[in-house]
Subunit: 139 residues, 2 copies
């Protein structure tokens, strides 16, 4: 299926290695990830050079044409929060995962929507297990 992977760009890139692990895992299982380029250490073309309106239109279209959204929420990000609410308003299943010990907004961790799964992970391997559990639930 097409899965939108949502991660921090402007908010900070310190968690980029786990973004890449999750996207590679999804692709290895045969899923299409339109945002795969945003999980790369070197974004090509650099997002900073793209017009804001073009990025907004591209990303909203990718959310709307996806069947699920997986967000890595360890690093605060306006864009990720926005995309989670957008996916939810479209009735899509959403996974929000984050490194155990990070402080995450209660607007994420307190969401009662049963279509929104929120999980902490301790290791990259556990993050991938959580992704698989989410995919198994919605598949």
């Amino acid at each position: 299926m097409q899965i939108y992977f949502s991660c921090s760009i402007t908010g900070g890139r310190q968690d980029q290695p786990i973004y890449q692990r999750i996207v590679a895992h999804l692709q290895a299982r045969g899923h299409q990830v339109p945002t795969a380029l945003l999980a790369d250490a070197q974004m090509e073309p650099p997002e900073a050079q793209l017009d804001a309106a073009a990025v907004y239109a591209r990303d909203v279209n990718w959310v709307k044409t996806s069947q699920a959204l997986i967000a890595e929420v360890s690093t605060p990000s306006h864009g990720v929060g926005y995309e989670i609410a957008l996916a939810e308003s479209l009735g899509m299943p959403v996974l929000c995962c984050y490194q155990a010990g990070r402080k995450v907004s209660k607007m994420i961790t307190g969401n009662p929507n049963p279509a929104v799964m929120v999980r902490a992970y301790r290791t990259p391997e556990e993050a991938l297990q959580i992704v698989d559990a989410f995919l198994g639930k919605i598949g």
Copy 2:
């Protein structure tokens, strides 16, 4: 009118003084700001002690019962991004303001919705002028 003021809590509090200036300005003009306590330097009761589900339910209800949303987006925040999308999905007018020079997500600055106003300010006084221009436009 009732105005939801949206600001970073978990994401970082370094911009708290401007949050307080904006809320005080709104209250001085006779508006109700249910989130006023979140703009204070000392949040009472401390948000950290509140249950996540209770915070989510409270804040979503406050958004839904407000007539407009004003977000200060200088500091990345999942909750603020989430609330902007929620307000937008409800057809509410939204102002996103930030300190000139800060890097702000293109999911904020690239939004083409005419009901969403995005403005940078150089001084606190200019931020308040932007707030007044927004209120004049929707009033």
